[in-house]
């Protein structure tokens, strides 16, 4: 496939550019008979939407989604579901000065070298705006997975710059502008971000995503392991530079006698595996961590070159998030949902006849994985 499609059976093809007339996606392969309206999709889009606090970009986009096909009398029909979001607040003039230069850390240079031309307006297709259709598609998967298997996928921000915010409780996440799982950390984060903004700088973030209620048996031996497909999806999110499953990089220094999660009749003891063994889901929580790099568009002047290779200085005054990670949690959730959805369909395609002799054992009674302590 040509690159803009995710999934093999639940296939999401996105289209659009930041400042073009519209963005959207086509979902092909959705099971029929799922009750679906725009109201099922909008809440996730609203969580990702810009302009909701002073800590994110002030671009105003309602991000109203329109279902163009694949739904009849409120039910999915099994045919492709096209979702359309019109771009509204596209101030391309803010970006006019970047048409001739390559912004450091951005895709400007690589797009230009690959394609010989680029839509420079707001980053064109490389804009984080293109995560909106992904979130919309993820909402469809979320509804089906919830109804069919009781799957719950949620996430939180566990580190902002060098401030780590360990997990305290899920109920805090929705109630603060950073999506951290400890509302008590908010004042420190606000002060930190205000300082960054004043300095015309930006920072990175770490996001944790947890999938619960995942059926045992999703995935394949080689190469399309469940964790491999998760890594692919997560690294495909703008600005992501690292992906961990379970203990992740901490497992390097772990001993085998510590890392390998024991099994007992009462269930697993621990979840260093992060819910995947040999590429196949174990029924434990899927725990995924991602690293998001600092926003590349900053006010501080930076060195670069223009289209002719001549040195220039770049300063970015457009509307940008000082930390793109703050709005990244729903995107990472959507990606996990899409991968799990695809694997649910793949699994029953091959293994629907399997009569399992052993009831799935319980997941470890473990808390969500917190960010590693310093």
């Amino acid at each position: 496939m040509a690159g803009n499609t995710l999934g093999r059976l639940f296939c999401v093809t996105t289209f659009g550019e930041s400042h073009g007339p519209a963005i959207g996606c086509v979902i092909d392969g959705c099971p029929p008979g799922l009750a679906l309206t725009e109201a099922d999709i909008q809440p996730d889009l609203d969580r990702r939407r810009p302009g909701t606090s002073r800590h994110v970009t002030q671009r105003q986009e309602a991000d109203r989604v329109e279902i163009l096909s694949g739904v009849f009398e409120g039910m999915t029909t099994g045919t492709p579901i096209a979702l359309l979001i019109r771009n509204e607040d596209a101030r391309s003039k803010d970006y006019g000065n970047i048409a001739q230069t390559f912004r450091p850390g951005h895709a400007d240079y690589t797009y230009f070298q690959k394609y010989g031309l680029r839509d420079h307006r707001g980053g064109g297709r490389s804009s984080a705006r293109l995560t909106a259709p992904v979130v919309a598609a993820g909402a469809v998967a979320r509804k089906w997975l919830g109804q069919a298997h009781g799957v719950v996928v949620r996430g939180y921000l566990s580190q902002l710059g060098d401030i780590r915010v360990p997990f305290v409780r899920w109920s805090d996440v929705a109630d603060n502008p950073f999506g951290v799982a400890d509302a008590g950390a908010v004042p420190q984060l606000e002060a930190y971000l205000d300082g960054l903004r004043k300095a015309g700088d930006s920072c990175g973030a770490r996001i944790e995503v947890v999938g619960s209620g995942i059926p045992v048996g999703l995935g394949a031996p080689l190469f399309d392991k469940l964790d491999a497909d998760i890594a692919h999806a997560m690294m495909g999110i703008n600005a992501v530079k690292g992906v961990e499953i379970g203990a992740g990089f901490d497992s390097v220094a772990q001993k085998g006698s510590v890392h390998g999660d024991e099994l007992t009749p009462q269930g697993f003891v621990g979840n260093n595996a992060g819910g995947v063994l040999g590429g196949i889901s174990s029924g434990q929580d899927l725990t995924v961590s991602i690293a998001i790099k600092p926003t590349s568009s900053i006010r501080q002047p930076r060195r670069s070159i223009d289209l002719n290779g001549q040195p220039v200085e770049v300063q970015t005054f457009g509307r940008h998030d000082p930390c793109v990670g703050i709005r990244a949690t729903p995107i990472a959730e959507a990606m996990l949902l899409l991968v799990v959805m695809d694997h649910c369909l793949l699994h029953r395609a091959q293994c629907a006849d399997v009569a399992t002799r052993l009831a799935p054992i319980a997941a470890a009674a473990a808390p969500a994985r917190a960010a590693p302590q310093p």
Copy 2:
């Protein structure tokens, strides 16, 4: 596709189990006219081969590869290249006692639940032995990429358990049984591993892989970014729990003014991006790090359950690597080679006509990324 194929145009489908009659792969899509014999493939297989030092499994496998098709009079013909490796030293009796139990940290439980049965001999398809065909296929990509683009892919072990071994020089890597880039660290590593073996325990490892000479322009915007496909391939290697590109998780605490690699007429300044911007290669070195979990098969007794869900104690006495990471470098190199190869073909499929106006700028004169310092 059904899961056991990597790549879209340079497609590698592997088959086989640890103790079956043979393992191998079919490479479909190799460009014609490449001079190729078994001698081009064997060296990489020999680097991955077990039994070469006391620090790795003592299973004796010559891993002689036979080319069954796709090569005529020493040249690839453009038709599928089938590679066959017969299994020779398969002592299935060593594993007989695991037929009825699920080894902690292994795929035993998940395979059984997914498929309803499993080939328990030596781990069956989930065995690290199945990385041999991957390495063989990678050697074909290595030859083509070297000739066509001057690509060089190499790697080293940068951490063993909690011992970090920063990069010193490439020439050390081949000359020590651990593949570290600092031969001076070998005595410490040997003592550490001997201690683990005595304790009947195991440890994890961190591997760095570097691709140089990568053409600018490989990759796609969404979702099949070059880094996303690298993450997929790397996380698909047995025992890998984390993947980083460039600065990886360190980028979380970096400021935007530090992370974004500036461009100058003389070239890039730094390579925090790890050679990928917006999912497309920048022409800088691809730098990839992976975390490998500790070997799950250890001599220490561990709790588990049997096929009936009853509690059992598991001790593993088969021939195992105390750290599978020690043999993992050629595997990770192969994966990177296969992904880059696939993207080279994808790129010219779409963009062969592009007349680039700007000559590619130089990569940063940076050393290979060393493991992060404590």
Copy 3:
């Protein structure tokens, strides 16, 4: 992939239903730098458009296409091209009486059994209206193939019911409402169709499509032969029941001494092969014939059952083509264009380095294949 995508590198995913808000497609993988506006696409859409003569359905659809993405300042950027066509003249009430019954020869029964529900309005997704996005995508391929390789794809109707209309000249095709290559046959065809309409009946058609200027070397040995992919695309058009390449079914009774096209320094002698040898294009004209079944929606009463399995009588009074084949030529052309486009990209992906020693030999100086004589 989930079924609604055609192509592996030039990927066209369509969406929409006959009476939903819109239909359209996403083209992923188009080479960048192609000048493209709606004006390049509209002419092919207009050829397929309903309501242009009394011999086709009177549904009035302007079929105005809107480019939503993938084009910047009049040039393709290499990112997905989304094309949108709003439905305008959707009189769903005409079809209300079919909600509870299965029309013979239609997809009503099979959709209902597969999906458990169906969008019955105007046939929903199984409507011939869904060929519009295919034609739109084909127009993009037509432009690129014409510029890059001088490819010309055109077709004509060679049989309507039992009236065969052998090829006379290309210039006649555009000037008559049936698209036959012999304007002299028009009065006979008009009389025939008028008779059918009076009788409340319908008939089938045979279409010939010819691709000229096809580069030698497109295709693959097994299974994705160029002719296999053409057969897939053609049989995927609504109502098509048969596909032939070159001599087609006539080759059954041919002798080997007749069928095999000889080669001479002056070029091929004959083109029974239809431009494909061993699944790979020979550089001769691609000649493809398709059989289109009679329109299933007719005024004559027919037996059927309702959703409860009870017997009913079905008469169709909606606006229908008495022969869907009359508007099928641009659709078949589009399908051939899409397949050839995809294979052009596939071919250069694998074989861009091949230095051919022998200049391609000439195609046979043969006329376009006429319909077989009775």
Copy 4:
């Protein structure tokens, strides 16, 4: 995918050349728990095997298949099944004289132009020998489909050159060297073929394949209709030039009042649709017809050119079938089995939850489709 793989979930990748060391395939995606040994596969291979009568090539190949993987203790495990067939009677010297020339009607010219080189021995990869792995894979699908759904796929030769042999009874098919469904026609066919052999010439054939017991609901709207995928598979068989579903090209001259199969509570009336409506199986018999061109390798001298474009005369004295169609029935059956198998898995992936309200209605009590009468 690179071209040598058939199927999306039940994926068959073949490899090998006519005179290389071995041919074979990898089946990825087979459901686990299917009892499988070589004895399940060999009978179909034996039906396709050369050397069984004087009317087919005298090449002696035992075509013994070896299962290399994916089966454990007699059951499929869900992992890739590799099948290997060693080439034994490869007399490459017979073909030495064709290394420098392009045989008319063969893939010699197109392979040379595409790849820049070719394995000329026995036709290399374009040899009909490569249908053996397809037949082997089809046997696996046959077993699963028979057990899971009661599917029966069988075929017969309905025309040899210009001699049509209408269907009489299935029981005749296995008992004559031509696979016709009327043993009474054998003497006429023998005389015809003996005449061809004396004349150093060859002829084509028409094959009918019928699939019974097909579940209703297999297929997808666009583009991967069941019939489209069947057309792709059939046209991918060596020497096939035409494919029909149901009434095929006869439907051109049919009226709508005749063609559209009516539905009654007692079942369908007729099967002009050939078991597919709107791309989705109706539960009626799948009826497929294919046209096979005459063998291109004949003793009569033919004009061609050599690698330098100079005129030469070609006569073929190797061991060839005077009509390749005689051995084609098991191949066409295998292709149909593979497509149906793939669609069974695709269907349950998407629609496993569908609760159908209406019991499938019966198939028409129609005889197998005979060849059209002159």
